[in-house]
């Protein structure tokens, strides 16, 4: 268990080129001991590079990495005392489940009784107790993935458990169970867990801190709620949430209101000293409802499509050239083609040059 500091880390795969291309732009970050972090972003955004820098498979072009204030930038993976779970389960085929779990301890010359105690405790947590004596290769993919994880957990002193899309090969309902397992493990062992994924649902349900990345840049770090309600950039708004955040090109009309398609929308943002005209209003479709008896922030729209998606209805409507999506409960009646939608002022995010004001 350790606190992990990434200080001014950046990485380029061609650092000697006159114009190096950065896979990871300079950033600093601290991962607190015992927390769950998810690194989220589309493919090729640098999340695996970041993980590999922490695990020591990649040496950053610049910056230092510290475990509990000890510089480990130049240490090899084996000396960093971390555990890593890969996308596909890695087990020792010739060994039993017990031998697999005991292997890291055996390599470190732990006593028989200590090994026994640790392996049994980890097997208990991971529900592998009944398989301890069966050959590891006979197990299912998710059980094998649990073994990979277990090998990380048997060492009490491991600094962090890093996971690179570990649930890719696992069935959806098992995924849910494993994520719960991971949370329990985190609570029980107080291990720092770092989880790389491109699946926002996975990140949202697993982590208490999400690091959103895009094109080598850390665009926002925060709790699932913060990312959902106050996305820092239009990219985060677009990437997180399903459907993506509604974004409208708009003009400033007063200190706290914008104009979209000649409709005035009040916000809770101070818009007095803006420099550019590139203004966008963002609002989650979850917050847009059919107007009941409100008298401001109403927009007239023309309903194009209503999709019943099981637990909610998704309305796609048009206002002039803008498309608006609204998520409403299944019971909501949509009276006719032309309806009024209400946009709550407190949920409006205003973006200047795609950055939240």
């Amino acid at each position: 268990m350790a606190k992990i500091d990434l200080s001014n880390i950046s990485h380029s795969y061609n650092p000697n080129d006159p114009n190096p291309v950065y896979a990871l732009n300079p950033f600093s970050m601290t991962w607190e001991n015992g927390n769950r972090y998810a690194i989220l972003g589309p493919s090729g955004c640098g999340k695996t590079t970041m993980l590999n820098i922490v695990s020591g498979l990649v040496r950053p072009s610049a910056g230092r990495i510290l475990f509990d204030d000890k510089d480990v930038t130049d240490l090899k993976t084996e000396d960093r005392n971390i555990a890593q779970v890969f996308q596909f389960p890695v087990i020792y085929n010739t060994m039993t489940v017990y031998e697999n779990l005991a292997f890291p301890l055996k390599c470190r010359d732990f006593s028989k009784s200590k090994t026994d105690e640790r392996v049994n405790s980890v097997a208990e947590t991971l529900n592998l107790k009944s398989f301890l004596n069966s050959p590891a290769r006979k197990l299912t993919a998710d059980q094998k993935q649990l073994i990979s994880l277990g090998r990380g957990l048997v060492r009490e002193d491991v600094a962090a458990v890093l996971m690179d899309e570990p649930l890719t090969v696992i069935d959806p309902d098992l995924k849910f169970r494993l994520r719960r397992n991971l949370k329990e493990i985190n609570e029980q062992y107080k291990t720092t867990l770092v989880y790389v994924t491109h699946d926002q649902n996975e990140a949202m349900t697993f982590a208490d801190n999400i690091i959103v990345m895009s094109e080598g840049e850390v665009v926002q770090t925060g709790s699932p709620k913060e990312l959902f309600e106050r996305p820092n950039t239009t990219f985060v708004g677009y990437f997180i949430g399903s459907p993506a955040m509604n974004l409208f090109e708009s003009e400033i009309s007063s200190n706290d209101s914008v104009k979209i398609n000649n409709t005035l929308i009040k916000t809770h943002t101070n818009l007095s000293n803006l420099k550019t005209k590139n203004i966008k209003l963002g609002i989650r479709s979850e917050f847009i409802k059919i107007a009941q008896n409100q008298n401001e922030n109403l927009i007239d729209v023309n309903v194009q499509k209503v999709e019943d998606l099981g637990n909610y209805k998704l309305i796609t409507a048009k206002m002039g050239d803008f498309t608006i999506k609204s998520k409403v409960t299944r019971e909501t009646e949509i009276p006719n083609q032309n309806v009024k939608l209400h946009i709550p002022a407190e949920k409006c995010c205003v973006y200047e040059d795609n950055k939240l004001i």
């Binding site: 695990s55 084996e78 890969f86 996308q87 596909f88 020792y92 292997f103 890291p104 390599c107």
Partner: protein, 287 residues
């Protein structure tokens, strides 16, 4: 799919297959039931007489067969161990990696018969450079004329010639292994020896089985090395099945008898290689 012309397109392949494989096998079976020899050439019918002679009255065939088993198993094991070691060596990032990779393949690129002639010259007991150098230590092994040492001379030449093939297959195998298991082992703190025992070797098992079987089949056909190096001698001490069949068939022209030996040999090889493959799979893959 109903495709009328499929036989037309299959014909060239089938024709070649019949011509070079199916017909010869059937012909050998028929030939083995005849007494075809240099006095009496022709496909007469003498029943199982050749087989009765082979099984009751020809210890030389069985001796040559067991000698062949010893030679091929020993050479293949040595090739596997040396080939694996060399492949493992150039698999890692070492200096002059490319140079070594090509160097280790040179023996395979040379013509076996010519290389064997060169080896014979090397091992020549009074004129060869090997004994010339060994004379410094006062020894002069009879490389080609001692019944026991001659077997090992054959093994040395075979191993030298064919280890590169094993090396090539195993290197290709090593290069195709996923890297995660090695990273995981490094993270678990495994020493290089443990890494080899628990990661490299198990991952290489399927490739190893393939390579060993291919080499066993090839090694059982050993003929040119023996022919050039010792001609089966001294006496019959390096004579292998194929060489003995060659002597009976193409030197003594006992065609019918040689055919019965060939066919018996084929059946034994099919059965024993199947068993070996099964045993290897069980041993290495633990299935």
């Amino acid at each position: 799919m109903n495709f009328k012309h499929k036989y037309f397109f299959l014909f060239p392949g089938l024709f070649v297959l019949i011509g070079i494989l199916i017909f010869p096998i059937i012909f050998v079976v028929r030939l083995s039931l005849s007494g075809w020899n240099s006095y009496n050439p022709g496909l007469d019918y003498i029943g199982l007489e050749n087989y009765i002679r082979l099984f009751t009255d020809d210890p030389r065939f069985w001796e040559s067969f067991f000698r062949l088993s010893f030679l091929s198993v020993t050479t293949v094991i040595l090739q596997y161990v040396i080939g694996f070691a060399l492949a493992h060596m150039v698999w890692k990032d070492i200096k002059f990696k490319r140079f070594f990779r090509v160097l280790f393949l040179v023996p395979m690129m040379t013509t076996p018969v010519i290389m064997t002639v060169i080896w014979r010259t090397f091992f020549h007991e009074s004129l060869g450079p090997v004994n010339d150098m060994l004379s410094i230590f006062g020894v002069a092994p009879k490389w080609l004329t001692d019944p026991v040492i001659a077997k090992f001379t054959v093994i040395i030449v075979e191993v030298w010639q064919w280890t590169p093939f094993m090396f090539l297959l195993l290197l290709a195998g090593l290069l195709s292994l996923p890297k995660e298991p090695f990273l995981a082992a490094a993270i678990d703190g495994a020493s290089p020896v443990r890494k080899f025992i628990y990661v490299t070797f198990p991952l290489m098992a399927p490739i190893s089985i393939g390579a060993i079987i291919i080499r066993l089949i090839e090694a059982s056909k050993i003929m040119d090395t023996v022919y050039v190096l010792t001609s089966g001698g001294p006496g019959t001490s390096t004579e292998t099945s194929s060489f003995y069949i060659f002597i009976k068939g193409l030197r003594e022209f006992q065609m019918g008898y040689a055919a019965s030996m060939s066919f018996t040999y084929l059946i034994i090889m099919i059965i024993s290689l199947t068993i070996i493959a099964k045993v290897l799979t069980k041993l290495l893959l633990k299935e």
